[in-house]
Symmetry: C2
Subunit: 250 residues, 2 copies
Amino acid sequence: MVRIGIIGSGNVAFHIWRQLKASNQVHTVNIWSPNINNKPEFELANVTPVNYMENDDIVIIATKDDVIEEVQEIIPVGPIVVHTSGFTSQSILQKHQKKGVLYPLQTFSKKTEIQWSKVPLFIESDTTSVLAEIKKVAEILSPNVQIVTEEQRKKLHVDGVFVNNFVNYLLSIVENHCQKNGIDKSVFNPLLEETIRKYQSLPAKDAQTGPALRNDQATIKGHLELLEGKEKEVYQLLTKAIHEKFNHDV
Amino acid sequence: MVRIGIIGSGNVAFHIWRQLKASNQVHTVNIWSPNINNKPEFELANVTPVNYMENDDIVIIATKDDVIEEVQEIIPVGPIVVHTSGFTSQSILQKHQKKGVLYPLQTFSKKTEIQWSKVPLFIESDTTSVLAEIKKVAEILSPNVQIVTEEQRKKLHVDGVFVNNFVNYLLSIVENHCQKNGIDKSVFNPLLEETIRKYQSLPAKDAQTGPALRNDQATIKGHLELLEGKEKEVYQLLTKAIHEKFNHDV
């Protein structure tokens, strides 16, 4: 039985809190928001005074990156302290000797259920015994736990931007075009699913097709005539990048 | 019962041929390759002399865009002639009066099964009666058939580049990083699946998150230090584009 405190009132805090609460391996899960006026939105949360955390075995800081430093200051010395950030050093938890990171590689929103069994968790600590404790807690959340270095974690975080933020931006362009074009954006679902399926089953270079790869200038020119502004710039740069990359690689 | 000819020996020709052959609504499906020395690779193909096509009800040109003009010249006048290109005008089929387009919005490769029931087909013809015939054939392939204008089809083709070619390029960057980082690229599968699921269920602006959206300069700077060359340029441009777009949109 582990006694766990969670600090934060955002999406990550909410989902970690709910999953830990639902498990029968956790003794108490306390949630605490750094903003005293911002009581967590999740109704069932057990918001406790900060000094209560000295009884916890582990405290998880699941706040925005820019308040982690301030938040770790108010945690009493004693429990293991981890944060959930993909791009913050564990050394920011300077007040605490037993410290580490528990980084979930997923995008969270309160409205959406999280399939925790599928969320990869990356854990980190300079102290072997602390790492073992963090691993135990991580494994309550997901069977998919990997120990990484800070460098590996930061690179995963960058790549998360490519996989989620940048892909979503490309899809936002398509969504806008569909609206203007009188087409339901769902017509792209099968192509999108096939694109993903190929990433999951082939080397990306074998899945690359299209005018950029073939250096089909007539089609590229025609496409550019239908685009403007940033979308046009993005098309031009990605076309150039694909042509360069796959002609060097292959 | 329809008599259908297919010209081409590539991935699109192969999958259309196989699906039509498997249906019991088609009388004969003939396949013919424009390159006489390039017998189609699909073993069961019934390669027939070109003059045989005058008995067909419809001939589908499923070749590369740049040979459509030449190929349509050798088809005897009589059958309806369509091509499968997303970015070629039907007027290129200049020898033929009964003409149109049958554009499948999917990426095809011979190794991969196609779930035809999920492939959106976009059809086009200047002649109403011809359009009705094309629709009949299209519906043998997929229940998802939509009539479009040339302009709509061309825009769909551009967007197909964003959805497939550009997303695959972003994923190729992630794949390379994972290789160098000693991480299995499959750790990104859940995040990728969630990204897609959000596109399919939310407006893209509600699914946009990350440092670019928040204009989190510290993280952006840190990410850029881990990137170089074209990847860095791509990161910079997409970050700028996200920040501009969603600050104007929201």
